[in-house]
Amino acid sequence: MRAGLGSVAVLALAACGSPSVSAAVQGPGPAAAPPSLTLYSSVTQETIDAVVGGYEKAHLGAKVTVFRAPTGQLNARLAADQRSGGLRADAIWGTDPLSMQSYSDQHLLAPWPLPELTSVPEQYRTADFWGTRLLYLVIVARRDLKPQPTSWTDLTSPAYRGQVAVPDPAFAGSALAALGYFWQTPGMGVDFYAALRANGAKQVASIPDVVTEVSQGSYQLGITLDSGVRTAMKKGSPVVMVWPKPGAIVLYSPIAMTARSAHSAAVKEFMTYVLSTQGQKLIADTGWQPIISGVPGPPQPARATSVAPEWTSLFGQQKALLARYRSIFVQ
């Protein structure tokens, strides 16, 4: 009955002129059509607008249809697509390697199609996806906070009892990366989150939420991304960025072609643009560190250091990490 009713509904609604229906029925356009593609992304709107705008300007007639949402919402879109006929995206541009690896584990990604590009450092590549930019997890603190923290472990200090905001790793890919780093680091592990919890730290939804909540005074400090803090400081919010010891946690924002893409030529064009000097400049202009050397990024403190999780050993551990975290941190 379901299929029958569904068919009736589709015929009726297709008659109403739904473009999506037409596209689904007709399949990919003729070979001479402009290099169009559908991109699913959790990258910030400003960056997406800049890079997609630049690409379309550089490729006359090209059209990139974008679905942009936070990582959790992106997962929802992918799950919905999976349940209803298959992935509709040609490319996925994510925020963190762990989420992207989970897509790879579901066989949603094609092998990396541009091996000839050599500009991306080895540590930011896998067989299916490559990094496009670097994100640094730092501490955001109220400008008037005394004393200011200097290291990650300071977040568990009694001086900041009940004053620390932690982003939800189930919601934000970059928060998941932080969880992965702390999990792997000797002397920290999951005990670090238990200590945070014991010190009255609270979970907020997203990475930018941390900056907002600290700016508004709901918390005095929290874990967030460098770009958000710089933007808030520029706008006048009463916050400062602390580059903690032993270093900011660095993660890369990967891009990949999907296994079902019918527009591989367009995807390759787009990826090439993202990893070109011009694309990387646009990424830098929107507050992120480019992944290729030679393109200057936002300023960092003198002698800034960074640390990173060992990604390959974290791959496949996402569910276990989140379950362990939730058992400690969520009511």
Binding site: M1, R2, T38, N75, K202, T212, S218
Partner: protein
Amino acid sequence: MRRAGSEPAPARTGPLRVVAIVVVVALFAVLIATPLVSLAHGAMDQGWSAMAQLLGGADVRTALWHTVLLAVIVTAVSVTMGTALALAFDRAMLPATARWRLALLVPLLVPQFAVTLSWTQAYGSGGLCDHLLGVTLPGLYGPFGIGLLLTVDSVPLTWLIVTAAMAVRREPDLARAARASGADPWTTVWTIDLPLLRGVLTAAAAVVFVNSVNSFAVPQVLGSAQGYQTLATLVYQQLTLSVGPEAFAQLSTTALLMVALVLVALGGAGRGLGGDQARYGTSGTPPALARDPCSRVVALSVAAYVVLVSGLPLVALVLTSLTRAAGLAPVPGNWSPAHYQAALNASAGVALTRSLVLAVAAGLLVTAMASLVVGVGGEWSRRLGTAVTLGFAIPGSALAVGTLIGYGTWLGGSAMIILMAYLAKSWALGHRVMSAGVDRMAPELTRAGRASGGSPVAVLRTITAPLMSTTLATSAGIVMLFALHELTMSTILYGPDTATFAVVVLNQQQLGEIGGSAAMAIILTLPPLLLLATGALLLRRRDHRLHPARVPR
């Protein structure tokens, strides 16, 4: 509610009626039945044992407990407060001016996510009260805050339902007799009014309960990050945590549990209504209470309620939308139009246009669909009316997931699938308005038109349509408002290039863009408020022209 003294509309006959019935049944099958069947099918994807295991899991049990607890408390408090407000107006303890009514209706006209955002900006840490007085509302994030906001949302709903029922069901003679026999006002309310309203209160309680179970925006914003899940937010969480095939089976099962919970509640309400016979009393006004100090206390209390519930939060929302960065004092020196400029940029502007188009389409289509149901007449109309109510009762998350499973292959991510969900959910809203309008229309007029030789089309064009114009506009308006504010289903169904404005606001909020979210919420909130205020003003002017003696009101 049928007009007192009028005959029930006779059932229409002929091929047109049969066609109308077939069309309504087909639409019901497409919009409501198929998603429900698909949902059940989706839940059983991983087998019965997986389904049972999920239902027995701690996440689902906890979310179910939270949902039921919140819904029961919110229902009890809202029905009590809404009924008290209705009685206060009825007994002239409050001035029945358009301004009072408009003020009380504000929470209904503002999207739930905007109400939530406005409260966090008014009473949360770093909010307006914190800035001005150093005062915050403890427990705003968590079960207390969720319950409070759901109550704020439900009180005007109960007030409207009870007020509408009292307009046709009250027994002023009984109340007068009781007062004449020496009963004090409270005894009259307790022994006369409340027993007469029993059925209406049960119906109001059912509506509020369903509304609370369905609510997504409030628990998502105030509870999710704190780990306080309801069934509606758990469905969303299950959708966002995994892209694997098991995710859909899990969330379908949870959504199906929501449907079961709502149907059980409605069944209970139905039994509660079973013995209640409608009483259509004589029209008239019950004995008004003298304007004593008690009345003034009531009026002051309600005024304070309006200020605290709607006034201050809306002011806080406007100030947040104007202040250029989070954490700055909301003073003119820190104001900037930047958030409004960003809110109307290319992609958000397109989303707003899309929302408006979807709202207009839903308003017009639902009104046409509701007209079909009431146009059928007779017993079939009643049965079909009951059937379409199911669409409203099914929680939005469940309906969206069912629609996605049923039609996603062909329509996934399109605006059309969002429109289908809107139609299914709001069909009952349009039907209730149309049904009430038809009941108030004197059937003698159409009979006279037909007896005078007018064709059915001519009667429809020259008699029915003009008489029903206000009802048609009301139906379309209510559905448009619903569609414009809808978030629960849109956030599950939207795809590339089909985000609605409400979804954009939620995404902005989740990205920490508090000023931008506030500006967008204001953009979405102001048009219905201005429309209602203009309507109230016009009505007041018309009343002034027709009844100059009532000017003081």
